[in-house]
Point group: C2
Chain length 162, copies 2
């Protein structure tokens, strides 16, 4: 079974307190995520990061899921198809992906990563000069460990249909 628990209602005092605590945590998380995201995006613009977070996330997914249909990619990345069309068009323009029409069903366009794309991802993953990496480096080892363990939870919060 899954490690998730889903309280249906809050009746006893303890459960009500828990519900309030959950709502508070969610609210706090939302604000923190938004602020941190803004900060990172701004800093990336200033220091001339190579890709925006959306483009980089799409590229990472293209690398991970091989030649992937744009519709599927849009679903994975939680954006609408037209947005993904744009993102992939730009990645292609810059030489990080290629688009191949599926021979079996010529309506389908698949995106595949290029060597340049792979190099870019590898580079960004080891960029120790980037803003966020510098900040992470300022944490203690145990704090980084805590962050690393919390990361899968953040990913799960955004996953589709539980």
């Amino acid at each position: 079974m899954s490690p998730r628990t889903a309280p249906a209602a809050a009746s006893a005092p303890a459960e009500m307190a828990e519900t309030a605590e959950i709502a508070e945590l969610a609210s706090h998380l939302r604000l923190t995520i938004a602020r941190l995201n803004r900060r990172v995006r701004q800093q990336a613009a200033i220091t001339g990061e190579e890709l925006t977070a959306s483009s980089q996330a799409a590229l990472a997914t293209i690398e991970r899921l091989g030649p992937i249909a744009l519709g599927e990619l849009a679903a994975v990345e939680q954006v609408q198809p037209p947005s993904m069309t744009r993102i992939v068009a730009r990645l292609e323009e810059w030489g990080y992906v290629t688009r191949v029409v599926d021979p079996a069903d010529r309506r389908v366009a698949r995106a595949a990563i290029t060597d340049a794309g792979r190099e870019l991802l590898a580079r960004s993953r080891t960029r120790k000069e980037a803003f966020l990496a510098q900040r992470v480096a300022e944490l203690s080892a145990s704090e980084r460990d805590l962050l690393a363990r919390a990361l899968p939870l953040l990913e799960r919060l955004q996953d589709d249909a539980p």
Copy 2:
């Protein structure tokens, strides 16, 4: 002293591995934060959340730091002054804040929260129907605890000048 450590360079093999791990963590964190933020924003738009994350974050800071000058508020929220002018103008329009000109220095405009603003914040903090709150509720108690402990770290990553 602070619990932070800042390795100046990576010379020994162990340090190099650590540096790579830090960069990887930062990269992963960036992508996760961006995706989660996108998801939350999108969902908020769909379900008609009362305020966007930026506005709500600004409002929360106005509540916390009392009548605050717009420039200071912009610095705290990590946005440029013109952006904050817009955000506060909208909050004022909707009746959640008031703007008062500082009598001592009439160039300064201070934003203060209204009763309606306080009520809105309280409401949003206990909104258990919101997308993120539902997802957080699906975590186990120990997972929520982990998240709660990681949150201050995320806040510190975005703080100014280490």
